[in-house]
Symmetry: C2
Subunit: 333 residues, 2 copies
């Protein structure tokens, strides 16, 4: 256990991103829904890869990106996720540990390869993801280390963990350990179709108090409550979860806590290259802000700052020190 | 053989770049000479990788980058280089073929892994390279396909091919095939220390007429002639090679052909993120210009345009269509 508690333990699918710019008609021609995540098998992965353009690779995965954001802010983060003992797994582990993130999950040996997501970036900066889960299918409850969970102020879990069957058991075990240690549990809803696949289970996680802090974007939250109205969804979530942070793209975010609904603007930018990681980095800033006892509003502003950095370049993790950017923007970290 | 000849066949080390931003003191602390390429063994690769920060990966290699530049300009290019049958080799092959480059070299099976270069990018945009050659050591003369060489207006070879011993035989065979088919041969000097390792052989290549078109930057050319004076080096090279294109960083380039010495300015830019690929993309523009019967000066201007694109972002290959950028800049391709 570290001398200081981790600002967050992030648990999620350990995925290497394979990113290429593309035109919108490629999405249409391949039956892809823009801005969402598609789960694909090995065969589909091969076909799609053969069709896509030249790419670059970087470690990604939603919760992994959030851990990298917290580390870039100067915080301490741990990560639990499953890679294979292959070249991409080596890259992934390197990128986490080189960022100062504690990452002790044993690799999968002799099984499926490290997960990869083919991310197609359209000229508007929107990203459309095609994920082959590979080794992530083997993340299970035995990968959850109680001491690490207990050492983290908050355990942050991605909704995507509901896709590989054993991982949801890991999720529940982590939540139990966290609450037993008097820590908090946070969930991001990840993707509107992921919400559609697991709506009842996600609602149960909120209503049972398994989740203390919820992250969602507007389409995910509306999907959760099957409503076209964001206001209706916010009215619903304030009864279901103690604290929610809802991102609404260029309109910033909305922090919902009981009767308080606070709107926080985004950081204005003309430089949107690649939206990959925007929500993940918002969560990093918000969670780090809470860990540093900031007000909800300041935490949301820090989230917006972190998200703005990551959408200004290709790749899902910060290219510059968020700690330095936050200091320039007047935050006292 | 293609219906239309290839604008160029590029032959070089097939390398995946592993790129990380770093501070200058990391270079000093690891005994690295800024702006140059260091050859490293597997053990050193592991040590250095463990010490470097989070990275992103992209297909690179000097000649491979040049082929990608020609393809991005709308030209036709072929590539010969050796990857292994591993994950990085799969990425490399994909990135070449997805760019429209003919790449038929058989992969190395059961041998060393695909080559990788750890590229450290300092805040000034300079890159310092640390290359583990791996499978490139197995490129040999049997990998040179005579029909492909004969189909290319020019066969472009990197000086780095002199490092893996069998590759220099491949180089010589390719040059022979090219001249037998009435085609031209071009060489880039690659790196001042590479020139230092093989000075006599490179001079022999020029003086014997094996090389028709030479690319070098100022430090490489001065290294070739062991002089501190660029003017002296230019005076020397105009006797040794029919046509030379010498890049001089922000001062543009100098085209040397017999008694003609033409200076061509760089494209002014404040946006230098990463110098990786600058020389490779200059060569792409220049060779493509020659293939399209441009004047030497216009070909050098096209080279400058291509170089400016690639230094504006992380990664050694164009992120935008060079054909579109050239059209915007008034080139008629």
């Amino acid at each position: 256990m570290p001398d200081q508690p981790y600002d967050a333990l992030c648990i999620g699918n350990a995925i290497v991103d394979i990113m290429a710019r593309t035109e919108d008609d490629f999405l249409v021609g391949n039956g892809l829904i823009k801005g969402t995540m598609h789960l694909i098998d090995a065969e589909r992965a091969e076909t799609l890869y053969a069709a896509m353009g030249p790419a670059i690779e970087a470690s990604g995965g939603s919760a992994g990106n959030t851990a990298a954001g917290i580390a870039s802010l100067g915080g301490s983060a741990a990560f639990i996720g499953k890679v294979a003992d292959d070249a991409l797994g080596t890259f992934y582990r390197h990128d986490m540990t080189a960022a100062g993130i504690a990452f002790a999950t044993a690799p999968l040996i002799g099984g499926a390869p490290t997960a990869r997501s083919m991310i197609l970036i359209t000229p508007d900066g929107e990203r459309t993801m095609n994920t082959y889960l590979g080794a992530c299918q083997d993340l299970g409850p035995d990968d959850i280390d109680r001491a690490t969970v207990a050492a983290a102020r908050v355990t942050y879990l991605e909704g995507y963990l509901w896709d590989p069957p054993a991982a949801k058991e890991a999720f529940r075990r982590a939540a139990d350990y966290a609450h037993e240690a008097g820590r908090e549990v946070s969930l991001t809803l990840s993707d509107p179709f992921c919400v559609d696949r697991f709506r009842d289970e996600f609602l149960e996680l909120l209503r049972s108090g398994t989740v203390d802090i919820l992250f969602a974007n507007d389409s995910e939250l509306r999907s959760l409550y099957k409503t076209g109205s964001l206001d209706a969804a916010i009215e619903a979530v304030r009864h279901d979860c103690r604290l929610s942070a809802v991102t609404v793209g260029a309109d910033g975010s909305i922090v919902v806590e009981g009767g308080d609904v606070t709107r926080v603007p985004a950081v204005a930018t003309d430089d949107v290259e690649d939206l990959t990681g925007a929500g993940d980095l918002y969560a990093a800033g918000f969670l780090f802000g809470l860990a540093r006892a900031m007000s909800r509003e300041d935490a949301a502003r820090l989230g917006a700052l972190a998200a703005t950095e990551v959408i200004g370049h290709i790749g899902p993790r910060p290219a510059r020190s968020l700690e330095a950017l936050a200091a320039e923007a007047g935050f006292r970290l």
